[in-house]
């Protein structure tokens, strides 16, 4: 066993340019080997393997949510109660599980079979409620299906997951036909012209590729909308240090579940995008940093990379799939770099920017999955063809995820600039009466139904409407929802996810959470509402990374746009 451990650990370490980077994979491996638990012995083994202190391992283990330093049951049931889950009735499932198992959330059944937890966003927003059992997802859960699941688990079986949802692709660039059984294979991908673009790219000069991508004006799909080509040109010229490309597959923003659609069903598109981009940037080693909860998707990616490698597509670059450990903030590019270096995922102060001082202090580009997945199309068809899709300054296809109160939640690949109305119609229309809509993931300002009228879904239009396109995660809120409760869920997420480095975010989110809970639970005072607004106003722009803003903005919007609802609770 120890021998086997040693060889496995060595294999893991060998994947990385620096030993420290292997720390999380080693911990993940040890935890899996050890009944889903990272006990003191495992901590010590990891510390020895990496050559660091126990404190460092423990600090990492407790930073990321997926490491269990305390014992958990054989089946760890994790119900996503974050905003999308909340909108789809996750609370009911959780309550049912408490009753059925006879334990409270956070407890383990006496027989050690089940541990029940409420967790934050799992990236299954249109297929909620979702229960994650150890590292498997069970989506579209109902009370009845929950009973079936528990009974099956009790008898040592695992039922099939049902991830079904509406899938519409108007562009057919990023999404493929997932109804085909072999949709993830190399053969299928190549059959549809896959890897032709890479072939073309390899015959071009790297600078030409960069120029083409810049010309196409692909705006970063990770949320900020920064033009990818421009970012690429920030890499220093004539620098002797290696360049790294990191594909950001952390997909942690509540309401967002787009990247996983590409990775799970069309993995070769991403692999090809990374292969082309790595060639363009002269990156010999690239990483896909995927959120740890998407373990099975990471397996799919690894298989695809293996296939592509065997097919001789990846002679110029080594792509490593790196699983995160459960942390939203690690979606931030500098936190992601820290995490990949084997540390707690605390964002770095900028400047210096990753282009100059990124992974291991080397020039680094971080791009989102969807961004990189646009690259093959651009190279194959040219920047002009890309620009034909979408609207001025906002080109190309965009995957929108629609969740919350619509009749047919799902994912929709539409051109940039498509009216919100059209997308919502494709999603079966609003269930009940719309109270508001969050159009770009949880970190953007909510729009009232009125404000949302006539909105087009592109970066510039959303900005003009006082919100942001963000990740394109659309959450519809109907009039059954209490906005104060929505606000509480929102701040719970950010307080849970705050890395804890800086005071305004760490302590500010705590105070806001307390005050919102007071209000929701009827203990609030009128001053509390003003205090929340005072805090959100000052937190904006004061934090080390954008996370502070990511909750200050939506909370401020909810409180100020729906203030009467808050006041009503206080007066009661």
């Amino acid at each position: 066993m120890d021998k086997q451990n040693d060889t496995m650990i060595k294999t893991i370490i060998d994947r990385y340019p620096k030993k420290d980077s292997a720390v999380m994979p080693v911990m993940q491996y040890l935890q899996k080997k050890n009944n889903n638990r990272l006990d003191d012995r495992a901590v010590e083994t990891a510390a020895k393997a990496i050559g660091c202190s126990k404190g460092k391992i423990y600090g990492i283990a407790t930073y990321y949510t997926m490491f269990n330093t305390q014992p958990v049951g054989k089946y760890h049931l994790q119900v996503d109660t974050c905003v999308p889950g909340f909108l789809q009735g996750a609370d009911e499932i959780l309550a049912h599980l408490e009753k059925k198992l006879g334990i409270k959330t956070g407890e383990t059944t006496k027989d050690g079979m089940f541990t029940l937890s409420a967790v934050q966003d799992l990236g299954s927003c249109a297929t909620g409620p979702v229960i994650q059992v150890n590292d498997r997802y069970f989506e579209n859960m109902t009370v009845k299906k929950t009973d079936v699941l528990i009974d099956a688990l009790k008898s040592g079986k695992e039922p099939e997951n049902d991830p079904s949802m509406t899938v519409v692709s108007k562009c057919n660039i990023l999404l493929n036909d997932r109804t085909k059984k072999d949709c993830r294979t190399l053969a299928f991908y190549k059959g549809n012209g896959g890897y032709q673009s890479l072939k073309k790219a390899l015959s071009m000069k790297p600078d030409e590729i960069v120029a083409e991508v810049k010309e196409a004006g692909i705006r970063g799909r990770g949320g900020a909308g920064f033009p990818a080509g421009t970012k690429w040109t920030f890499l220093p010229k004539n620098d002797s240090r290696p360049v790294y490309l990191i594909c950001n597959a952390d997909e942690g923003e509540p309401g967002t579940f787009k990247d996983r659609q590409i990775m799970e069903f069309n993995p070769h598109l991403l692999v090809e995008g990374i292969a082309i981009s790595s060639f363009a940037l002269n990156a010999k080693k690239s990483f896909i940093y995927i959120r740890g909860e998407f373990d099975w998707i990471a397996d799919i990616l690894e298989a695809a990379i293996e296939e592509a490698k065997k097919d001789g597509q990846l002679n110029h670059v080594d792509i490593v799939v790196h699983r995160g450990g459960g942390s939203y903030v690690c979606g931030d590019e500098t936190a992601q770099i820290e995490s990949l270096e084997g540390k707690r995922g605390n964002p770095r102060v900028k400047p210096p920017f990753p282009a100059n001082f990124g992974l291991y202090g080397c020039p680094t580009v971080v791009n989102n999955v969807e961004t990189l997945s646009c690259v093959p199309y651009v190279i194959q068809n040219g920047a002009a063809a890309f620009q034909k899709i979408g609207v001025t300054n906002n080109f190309g296809p965009k995957i929108f995820g629609v969740s919350g109160h619509v009749n047919k939640p799902g994912i929709f690949e539409y051109p940039m600039g498509t009216p919100l109305k059209e997308i919502l119609e494709a999603a079966g229309g609003v269930k009940g009466k719309m109270k508001g809509v969050i159009v770009g993931g949880l970190s953007v300002a909510i729009l009232t139904a009125k404000e949302a009228e006539g909105l087009n879904m592109d970066y510039d239009s959303c900005n003009k409407a006082g919100t942001a396109l963000g990740s394109g995660g659309i959450m519809v809120v109907n009039d059954t929802v209490s906005i104060p409760e929505l606000a509480l869920r929102t701040i719970e997420f950010y307080h849970h996810e705050s890395c804890g480095q800086c005071v305004p975010c760490r302590e500010g989110s705590l105070v806001i959470e307390h005050k919102l809970r007071d209000i929701v639970e009827g203990r609030g005072k009128m001053e509390d509402i003003d205090l929340i607004l005072h805090l959100t106003k000052n937190i904006k722009g004061l934090t080390l990374c954008p996370t502070g803003e990511a909750f200050a903005v939506p909370i401020q919007a909810m409180v100020s746009k729906f203030r009467p609802e808050f006041e009503a609770l206080v007066k009661k």
């Binding site: 003191d40 901590v43 660091c52 202190s53 126990k54 404190g55 460092k56 391992i57 423990y58 600090g59 407790t62 930073y63 330093t69 942390s327 707690r344 102060v349 307080h495 849970h496 996810e497 705050s498 890395c499 804890g500 480095q501 800086c502 005071v503 305004p504 760490r506 302590e507 500010g508 989110s509 705590l510 105070v511 307390h514 005050k515 205090l531 005072h534 805090l535 000052n538 937190i539 722009g541 004061l542 934090t543 080390l544």
Partner: protein
């Protein structure tokens, strides 16, 4: 042309080596700071040192801000003050900052910031979170006073490289841990006290100093550690003639503020009740107290007698490798000049 910046309208030359905070401090402009410790460099975590810079939208942390030519900086605008107040208020709200009974009262960077910002009672209070850790021999940790500035963690890992402290958990639960969250006394901590010296507040303090003296009663005396041959420079904190605590002298050669457990905590022996207080002469196998003259005369006479009978080389002496140079100098002078022998040595090789 010389490069310059403007802080609150005052002009300062810059040479590209100093941050805005450093320039301001050197020129008597007060900017509060909490996570910044000179020898660790900026951490940019507490956000209390923010200033407003013309042309930049967000407030900037002055501890990490390298000025560029012509930069115009405002340190006390209403926006800056409001942000700073919020930061300090948040910290006061989420911990037990009962200054009355805190060992660092009067020598606390949080208290100083609060005082300067005119904050009296925290605007919002959230309950306490942690218990005190008194398990270690010399250091007490009070998590409720901890502001998670990370200075102790950095000091333990980057200054003394003992790699004991880390931050555990995250977000609002972030707290300092020893090893895998053991009580400090059960951890691999060697009680060097580097973390205590780095802490800006009363979250880490010396057990031995508790109740022994307030900062304003303290007299400070620089001296040299009496233990090993590194020769660390100590700053004794005294109330009367009682050592309340010992700190390393920052910026001093050779130790720049660092000490080890012996140098920092090994001082009580001078106050021991077992100290010898009178000359002793052995009579019939028992020590009896004697006057100085009696004892000195006895020794001198015996020595003289032996010199007379057996010559000066029948006397030998061992000096002390722990005592001051001046003592050794006088002892060898006694042996050479007064007694007339070179039979003088010390534990030169241990």
């Amino acid at each position: 042309m010389d490069k310059k910046i403007f802080i609150d309208g005052r002009e300062f030359a810059i040479d590209g080596t100093k941050t805005v905070l450093e320039i301001a401090r050197e020129n008597g402009i007060y900017i509060p700071s909490l996570c910044y410790l000179k020898k660790l460099g900026p951490a940019s975590m507490c956000r209390v040192c923010v200033v407003e810079v013309d042309g930049i939208r967000n407030l900037q942390t002055s501890c990490s801000l390298m000025p560029t030519d012509g930069m115009k900086i405002t340190t006390g605008s209403p926006r800056v003050i409001e942000a700073r107040k919020m930061v300090v208020n948040l910290l006061l709200a989420n911990g037990n900052h009962n200054c009355l009974i805190c060992e660092r009262n009067g020598d606390c960077e949080l208290q100083e910031a609060a005082y300067n910002l005119g904050i009296d009672i925290p605007a919002f209070v959230v309950p306490e979170r942690e218990e005190k850790d008194e398990s270690a021999a010399f250091i007490i940790r009070d998590g409720n006073k901890c502001i998670q500035c990370g200075r102790c963690v950095e000091a333990c890992n980057r200054m003394v490289v003992n790699e004991v402290l880390e931050m555990g958990n995250r977000g609002g639960h972030t707290h300092v841990i020893c090893d895998n969250d053991l009580p400090m006394g059960a951890s691999s901590c060697v009680q060097c006290g580097e973390c205590v010296q780095a802490c800006p507040v009363g979250a880490l303090y010396e057990k031995k100093g508790v109740g022994k003296g307030r900062p304003w009663e303290i007299r400070k005396v620089r001296t040299t550690c009496p233990y090993c041959g590194v020769g660390c420079q100590q700053e004794l904190h005294l109330k009367g003639d009682q050592i309340v605590r010992i700190k390393g002298v920052e910026g001093a050669q050779p130790n720049d503020g660092h000490l080890c457990v012996k140098g920092r905590y090994g001082y009580d022996f001078i106050y021991s009740k077992e100290r010898l207080t009178t000359p002793l002469i052995k009579k019939n196998g028992k020590f009896e107290e004697a006057s100085w003259d009696e004892a000195l005369d006895l020794v001198a006479n015996k020595f003289k007698q032996i010199i007379k009978e057996s010559g000066p080389d029948a006397i030998a002496g061992v000096s002390c490798a722990r005592s001051i140079n001046e003592d050794s100098f006088y002892m060898q002078k006694l042996f050479r000049a007064a007694i007339g022998t070179n039979n003088i040595d010390h534990c030169a090789r241990t």
